[in-house]
């Protein structure tokens, strides 16, 4: 897609096709001969892993949709029908359910890699933003997918998340109510909600696939970033994508399948919640409503703010920051390998986000450090909600810190990609 094409049609058929639809040329230039920096480490394999995740989710999802019934009265039993009576249905369902978690695990690693090595910096801003769009679509898809089995956690997850939009009544009176009614298809989470969520859950993955196409296109214009963050200067800095990265990504994909298969076959419910094996009951609210693990950091940010509208805005803001990061980080050096100060702030950012995720799974008033006792004898002290507040503040501060680290004292950046390799070898 960029630079001169190296493709030479060899057969009569290829020559005939090439002047009509140069699809083999495109495949050659993007997936076979594409010049790729030779120093990409294993953190770079997650792009390929994510493509595989998407294919797995779509393929398993299409089969599940053949047996699933999107009806509030039948959905739960139809999922159990898949588990019990569909040939290998249990496997397909567990691959799909755990596949969602593995997809998010991979996407978080992929995003963290981009943040650390400055992959969002010019000229890759559009590439980064398209990635953020994919992430948003993934969150919407995963949320709606979790509603489909129509268990207690499905139902109350849908109630909590859709109700967040009612906060917009505080911006324009009636706006929030309008949005929630539209999402519900009525005046509460019910059969119409399930039907539209199923429809959208089937639609959005194909939109993700479309944006992934744009993401790869935007990748192939400037080419890959690399751990040094230094631009490719000559042909000696690169290797053709095939066979060098097909085999490296292939190895990483097989490695990734090992924990994936472990969850599917040996701990398929470990990431789920027991309450979701209880049929949805609008009259019995579970004691403790928690989203899936991959939403927990944002859930913690939401709950750390007492005002609903501000909480919702903070939660969306946490994701909006990602869109803005190419312009918030003004350092001329891409890779944090050469940014000794920024990398510490980055490390704290990752740890803070993980602990925020833990906070999201606890009750906000749970006491972490007991200091005293209240009149009723209950312990008081430093609670989860206060820890969430500190961590959420750091989460946002990180992006501001990047802005102020423009003139950070950086380590010497190598002249070329090959330079540090040669230096290490001496």
């Amino acid at each position: 897609m960029s630079g001169p094409s190296s493709y030479e049609p060899k057969t009569a058929f290829e020559r005939w096709l090439d002047v009509r639809l140069p699809i083999i040329r495109m495949a050659n230039d993007t997936a076979l001969d594409f010049p790729t920096p030779k120093n990409l480490n294993y953190w770079w394999t997650f792009g390929g892993i994510l493509a595989v995740c998407l294919v797995i989710q779509i393929a398993s999802g299409v089969v599940l949709a053949m047996h699933y019934v999107p009806n509030a009265g039948l959905a739960f039993d139809s999922v159990e029908h898949i588990m019990r009576d569909v040939k290998h249905g249990w496997m397909i369902r567990f691959i799909h359910a755990n596949g969602a978690s593995m997809f998010f695990l991979a996407v978080y690693i992929h995003m963290a890699r981009g943040l650390y090595y400055g992959s969002y910096k010019a000229p890759r801003e559009v590439l980064w933003i398209l990635g953020c769009v994919i992430y948003l679509l993934m969150m919407a898809t995963a949320f709606m997918g979790y509603v489909l089995p129509w268990g207690q956690m499905s139902y109350y997850g849908a109630v909590v998340i859709t109700n967040l939009f009612s906060a917009f009544d505080g911006v324009i009176p009636g706006l929030g109510t309008y949005i929630t009614t539209l999402l519900w298809g009525g005046f509460s989470v019910d059969n119409p909600t399930l039907n539209r969520f199923f429809s959208l859950h089937y639609l959005l993955p194909f939109m993700i696939a479309g944006v992934v196409g744009l993401h790869i296109w935007a990748l192939h214009v400037p080419g890959n970033n690399n751990p040094t963050g230094v631009d490719v200067k000559s042909k000696s800095d690169t290797v053709p994508f095939h066979p060098y990265y097909t085999v490296k990504d292939g190895f990483a994909i097989v490695l990734f399948f090992i924990p994936f298969a472990w969850f599917v076959f040996f701990a398929p419910e470990a990431l789920g919640h027991a309450d979701n094996y209880v049929k949805a009951n609008p009259l019995a609210t579970p004691a403790h409503i928690v989203p899936e693990w991959y939403f927990l950091p944002f859930y913690a940010i939401l709950r750390s703010i007492p005002d609903k509208l501000m909480g919702v805005l903070a939660m969306f803001g946490a994701i909006a920051m990602l869109f803005a990061v190419p312009w918030l980080d003004r350092s001329p050096v891409r890779s944090m390998r050469y940014r000794p100060t920024a990398r510490w702030f980055f490390a704290i950012f990752i740890v803070a986000t993980i602990i925020l995720g833990w906070c999201g799974g606890q009750l906000p008033d749970d006491v972490i450090l007991p200091i005293g006792k209240s009149e009723t004898g209950a312990p008081t002290g430093f609670t989860v909600v206060w820890l969430s507040r500190i961590l959420a503040a750091y989460y946002f501060a990180y992006f501001g810190i990047l802005w102020f680290l423009k003139n950070e004292k950086t380590l010497p950046v190598p002249e070329t990609i090959s330079a540090p390799v040669l230096a290490e070898k001496v």
């Binding site: 159990e80 292939g250 190895f251 076959f265 398929p268 390799v421």
Partner: protein, 282 residues
């Protein structure tokens, strides 16, 4: 140094928060018990599943339905009464005999009258009550939950069921227990509103509408196993674990083959990778 600091932090985070999270979720530790199907290689013990079905059929089924199961499931591969000779579970004599002894409601195809007829292996387990109000009326307002997936619907699964069924005893002094309610040390609930003692010493457990059921010798096991409370509880918990996911055994067996395949495949891909990259300095 950063890498070391990061991995140390990650390990520490996992240990601290993992521990804290499990303590918070489970509250009261369950009674220790080991099941043959625990762990990634565990398998169901057929004898235990058969005894467990008998406990369900003679005790639990008078109040609890299992409407995701059919009698044929009992004789399918991996089920309590599976027999190699009968690949089609509908032909299995145990499934046929068990079903035939149970009268299920139906409609007479000639007259349209409501009738009952002996069940076939294709029929779902018979519901003990015709509808929810009838079930509630028979149980002091409480609805006995369907047991089809109960082992998955409760934190702790079979271990929780075992603890619950054996966890009945005299309510601690200071706890108000309404008539028709029974105290169980392991039932999950918050007792603080019914507790008169000090607020930081609320007892574990809860009160439920089901009384202690599995008295010794309540069920006579066909294989001569002494039917203690403990044995009955363990066997019915195993049966319910099987019923919640009848393909669990097949899942683990497949998983073992998949893991071996992936490990070999990973080794081969790694060697290919090393060979292809041999002459590239990177």
């Amino acid at each position: 140094m950063l890498r070391k600091a990061l991995s140390a932090a990650a390990v520490l985070a996992c240990l601290t928060f993992g521990g804290a999270a499990s303590a918070a979720e489970h509250g009261h530790t369950l009674r220790p018990v080991t099941f043959s199907f625990d762990g990634p290689f565990g398998k169901f013990d057929r004898g235990s599943l058969q005894r467990g079905y008998k406990v369900y059929a003679e005790v639990c089924s008078s109040c609890h339905g299992m409407n995701l199961l059919s009698y044929r499931n009992l004789a399918q591969k991996g089920g309590p009464f599976f027999d190699e000779k009968y690949k089609n579970p509908n032909d299995n004599p145990y499934a046929k005999a068990i079903a035939a002894a149970i009268e299920v409601p139906d409609i007479d195809p000639d007259t349209g009258d409501a009738i009952t007829r002996p069940a076939t292996p294709a029929d779902r387990f018979k519901d003990p009550y015709p509808n929810e109000p009838a079930a509630r009326a028979g149980n002091g307002g409480a609805l006995p939950p369907d047991l089809s997936v109960i082992a998955k619907a409760r934190e702790g699964g079979a271990h929780y069921i075992y603890s619950l069924l054996t966890g009945y005893h005299e309510a601690p002094a200071g706890l108000t227990v309404a008539p028709g309610q029974y105290y169980d040390e392991y039932y999950k609930s918050d007792l603080s509103s019914a507790w008169k003692g000090p607020k930081d010493k609320v007892p574990p457990g809860g009160v439920l509408a089901m009384s202690f059921q599995l008295t010794p010798d309540r069920v006579a096991f066909d294989d001569g196993t002494p039917s203690s409370t403990d044995q009955e509880a363990k066997d019915v918990a195993a049966f319910l674990a099987w019923a919640a996911e009848p393909h669990a055994e097949e899942r683990k067996e497949t998983g073992l083959a998949v893991m071996i395949y992936l490990l070999i495949f990973a080794g081969i891909t790694y060697l290919s990778y090393r060979r292809i990259w041999k002459n590239v300095a990177h």
